[in-house]
Symmetry: C2
Subunit: 353 residues, 2 copies
């Protein structure tokens, strides 16, 4: 791993690639001047785009050339077998070889997870890597995982998600003692399925930990910001995330309809435009772009496929922060110093250690 | 079952009971003049409230007296054993005895489902009753089930939910040929768990049906109104519903903050007030109050526990519509005329019948 801060970008993934990738890198450099970018993709298309930038051009970034790209509709198994030499695979390989600290791609999520798992490998003590994301809440922002990598999860998986999630928000958001909750259909102990009940029992039994276990939370606790980390299986997490995004879009649409309704409301909109813009900014999905793969021996961030340069810059920022604040080292340290031994093996020993 | 339209109300369930129950009944009578109300609960508290109403007082409603009520924190099993003589149990009994066409309660959901199942019994051909609800969409409104009665569901349960759901929106919303989708983490056939994949295969194989099977939908398809009926297990359905409610509240809060931000935005708000009010009305949770228990030999509707008189009146309206449009009879008819035989027994026979 490099001493500096080098991020490899899959320049061919995403609806608006490679343009938004190159422009996104340029925006990210404003916030992270020490950042070194490696672009992976079709050099003939990428180089002219780099020439048009300011900060990125100044560092004459390395371009790893390939014309091969993984399609959005490729199944992960196909991407694994046939994806060698693709922009996504080569970008991940750079992290595996220690030439880059992290990779960001707006390409096929399933392929990215499958290749990242193969190349970077899950950390010792982690059975299944998870996808985590930020979302806006009444209190600021919180993180949720898993968002879709693991459709069914047992109690051990959920406990490992809780542990990775709390280290993540401690390092990246700087929270001192984050509060962790498990997503369920009610807050009472007997609610839900075996996995969530068992995971809650294990987490309740872990004392002397750098986080607080809140217990169960419900769907409306996600936007309320009741906890800093929402732990769930990938099925429910994916549905919750997309339901929140869709509801947000629906209300935006209703709001636009309402303001266009009469002369009076149009005039009101003109005056309140700043306020509405502020709301739009608070809910802007680009602000929360970047889903982090946690539990791998390397940093991998998935950008939304439809995002623009600003959104992609935010995804690069997430990868940069994970490196800056030493997320990987912190997980490794806490997993190996015994405090966070695998909960399925010795939950009681951990609790009384 | 009565020839008219008689609804029994658990007058003691809900945070603001019995006041909001009595006032809600009075509001419902404006929309359903033929409605007959039976109030079940503490007569000494209910009678003075009835005296203060207009329409309800005029019909001098029957009051079935009991001082016993089921608490919100009672487990369903406790409510079943010890709930005899309670307002909820007596109200459901009235439906079981054919003295009322339906029951509405804002009390403990688990208790209501358990007692309704015991007293009213699942219909032949339905393994597990489900809870269904309406929600606002870009296109109007859609229904989703299950919202929490069944934490884990197999393919047969999901197929039965699809069948009950489409009959429900055909009868109550008057849709001619509703579109049904199964909630999943992606729209591709291979996505999700075994239950959703098998259920989709069965539904795809059913031809000549009074509904269209759309396939899988994702979380953001719920508010988008991609389908008329969203089918899901009770775990994901409950989380999706509450996440949408919470997101809606969060944006409302952000919007209020934004409008209070400056003199300009306050002035803008004054002018756009009508428009904002229109938005608030479109998203008003009271409009969508009333979760329907489908698959029982009787009409049972659960109101939100924290609702007010207007919300409770809407829940009564849902029960009244189910009776008016003959929902129970229609399900029974379609289940017994062979068109909708149990899908686990003979999906192909159904398809080719």
């Amino acid at each position: 791993m490099s001493d500096g801060l080098t991020i490899a970008l899959d320049a061919m993934g995403g609806d608006k690639a490679p343009d938004m990738v190159v422009q996104g890198a340029d925006i990210a450099l404003e916030r992270y001047p020490e950042l070194k970018i490696i672009l992976v993709g079709d050099e003939a298309r990428i180089r002219p785009l780099v020439e048009k930038t300011k900060r990125l051009k100044a560092q004459s970034p390395e371009i790893v050339h390939t014309e091969k790209a993984i399609a959005d509709e490729d199944k992960p198994s196909v991407a694994l077998r046939q994806g060698k030499g693709s922009s996504m695979r080569l970008a991940i390989d750079l992290v595996g070889q220690g030439r880059a600290d992290g990779v960001v791609s707006a390409g096929n999520t399933g392929a990215l997870m499958a290749i990242a798992k193969l190349v970077l490998r899950p950390m010792p003590g982690i059975d299944r890597p998870a996808i985590a994301g930020f979302f806006p809440t009444r209190r600021g922002e919180s993180a949720m995982l898993d968002l879709g990598a693991n459709i069914t999860c047992d109690a051990t998986n959920l406990v490992q998600f809780a542990i990775m999630g709390q280290i993540f928000v401690r390092t990246v958001l700087g929270l001192e003692r984050p509060v962790v909750g498990i997503l369920n259909v009610g807050i009472e102990e007997q609610k839900g399925n075996d996995s969530v009940r068992e995971a809650a029992t294990i987490l309740r039994g872990m004392t002397d930990m750098p986080f607080e276990f809140h217990g169960f939370v419900e769907g409306d606790d996600i936007p309320a910001g009741t906890v800093d980390v929402v732990v769930t299986d990938g099925f429910s997490g994916n549905i919750a995330l997309k339901t929140a995004e869709g509801t947000s879009r629906l209300i935006g649409q209703f709001l636009r309809d309402a303001f266009r309704n009469s002369l009076m409301s149009k005039l009101g909109y003109l005056l309140a435009r700043g306020a509405v813009g502020q709301l739009r900014q608070r809910m802007d999905p680009r602000r929360y772009n970047g889903a982090m793969f946690l539990g791998l021996n390397g940093i991998a961030v998935k950008s939304h496929g439809g995002t623009d340069a600003l959104g992609f810059a935010n995804a690069i920022g997430v990868a940069a922060d994970m490196k800056r604040y030493g997320f990987i080292e912190k997980v490794r340290e806490e997993l190996t110093n015994g405090r966070l031994d695998r909960p399925d093996e010795q939950p009681t020993a951990v609790a009384t250690a």
